[in-house]
């Protein structure tokens, strides 16, 4: 009934359904199921979800509130349905059992359970007799716990011995399984500057390495060139190549 409450409180989910058993808005379907006017057995929840995904793709809008609401309602429907499935199974199991057999099974369980219920009675008696008892539990005063150590029992060198292992340089961890980056940002910046100086203009595709990570470093270097005012970046369309051109600094006037 949580579903019912939230259906009232939350905005409606705008989804038109065209199912075998129902044709109309999703909210209406939920209401009808809750009022027992449509049997949830007949409703294929997976179809509803598929329709909603299509609806999302069609509208191209993602409304977080409406979608959460939809997920809550669909979850409630699934819960109702799974509960029905389980109930059905239990009933079938009972029907399969011969009444005598069922009674025998129940008897065994009851007899077993009664043992523990009676044992609980025994525990209650023990509890009444003993639970109020006060045992010695005061902590021992610290001075009684401390063990006397004779003067000079420890040599001063024992301190050094204790410290020595801490001062030793730990072995360098083996990182051979980690692939080294072939390029560093500094190196890549230097390389791009050289190209920029020689040619005045280049494209990202023309200079970028194959490796994904290395391409990322190259791209980062481009951004660096841009932010430092050394290069202008141009891209004529989305995902298109990037043209990098040198920003010419007016030569200082000499003379």
């Amino acid at each position: 009934m949580r579903a019912e409450a939230s259906a009232v409180a939350a905005p409606p989910v705008a989804l038109e359904l065209d199912l075998d058993v129902f044709d109309g808005p999703f909210d209406l379907l939920v209401t009808l199921i809750l009022r027992d006017e449509i049997d949830i057995w007949e409703v294929r929840v997976s179809r509803i979800i598929a329709e909603y995904v299509l609806h999302l793709a069609d509208t191209g809008e993602f409304d977080l509130d409406a979608t959460s609401q939809f997920v809550v309602l669909v979850a409630a429907l699934l819960e109702m349905k799974s509960r029905l499935l389980l109930e059905e199974e239990v009933e079938e199991e009972l029907e399969d059992l011969d009444p005598d057999e069922a009674a025998q099974q129940l008897l065994e369980r009851l007899v077993r359970y009664s043992q523990y219920r009676n044992a609980a009675g025994g525990l209650r008696e023990a509890w009444e007799a003993h639970s109020a008892r006060l045992y010695r539990n005061a902590p021992v005063p610290a001075e009684f716990l401390r063990r006397r150590v004779a003067d000079g029992a420890f040599a001063a060198s024992s301190l050094a011995d204790a410290l020595a292992p801490l001062l030793r340089e730990p072995p360098v961890p083996d990182t051979s399984h980690l692939a080294d980056l072939a390029v560093s940002l500094v190196k890549e910046l230097r390389r791009l500057r050289l190209i920029l100086d020689d040619e005045g203009e280049f494209t990202f595709a023309g200079v970028a390495p194959r490796d994904r990570l290395e391409r990322a470093v190259t791209f980062f270097a481009l951004l660096e060139l841009h932010s430092s005012g050394e290069a202008r970046l141009r891209q004529t369309r989305h995902f298109g190549d990037i043209v990098v051109s040198r920003i010419t600094v007016p030569a200082p006037v000499t003379g």
Binding site: A103, R124, H130, S131, A132, R133, V140
Partner: protein
């Protein structure tokens, strides 16, 4: 009093928790039999009614306890309160844990026929039941068992001190009565 009994008395006086006989023997550098004999003498010395405290065997060892008829005065003085009563559901769950430990949540629910989540949580909170690792079965469920505090509050020296479960079995006549009631029900349903 025996010299050894006096030494044991000093150990029990200083220890904040029960001490097992073998540890007492170790501390006094004597055999366990000697320690057990001296402990018996010490318990006789502190027999109920003789002193304001007595020697008790509880939770796996020996310790001093306030004599029951002096407990109220001690409570007034220290402000210590009696532990809260246990409800029938808690006692029942505790009985299942105590007799079947280590036991999983599902096994407890199976015996009682109801989910025992709340009861287990409450028993854990009161320090009567504690988690004791995980079962080596699918899902590795948590195993529950009783605690040292459980032994103290129920006046038990050890888990072996629990009365055997068979003592609590139903009598033959009770089983017969349940059986005839169930059969009557089953026939009514069959019709």
């Amino acid at each position: 009093m025996l010299p050894l009994a006096r030494r044991l008395e000093a150990l029990l006086f200083i220890s904040p928790r029960p001490i097992a006989a073998d540890r007492l023997a170790e501390a006094c550098a004597c055999s366990e039999e000697e320690a057990t004999g001296a402990l018996a003498a010490l318990r006789a010395e502190y027999a109920a009614g003789a002193h304001g405290i007595e020697v008790r065997e509880v939770a796996g060892g020996f310790t001093f306890a306030v004599a029951d008829d002096c407990a109220e005065d001690v409570r007034r003085f220290t402000g210590a309160e009696r532990p809260d009563e246990l409800t029938p559901a808690l006692l029942e769950t505790l009985a299942v844990v105590a007799y079947l430990e280590p036991v999983t949540r599902a096994e407890i629910a199976e015996v009682r026929g109801v989910s025992s989540e709340y009861a287990l949580g409450a028993l854990e909170e009161r320090g009567l039941v504690e988690q004791q690792g995980r079962a080596d079965t699918p899902g590795t469920p948590v195993l529950y068992g009783t605690s040292g505090r459980f032994l103290k509050l129920f006046g038990l020296a050890s888990r072996d001190d629990l009365p055997p479960l068979e003592e609590f079995s139903l009598g033959a006549d009770e089983v017969d009565e349940i059986r005839s009631r169930l059969h009557a029900n089953a026939e009514r349903r069959a019709q």
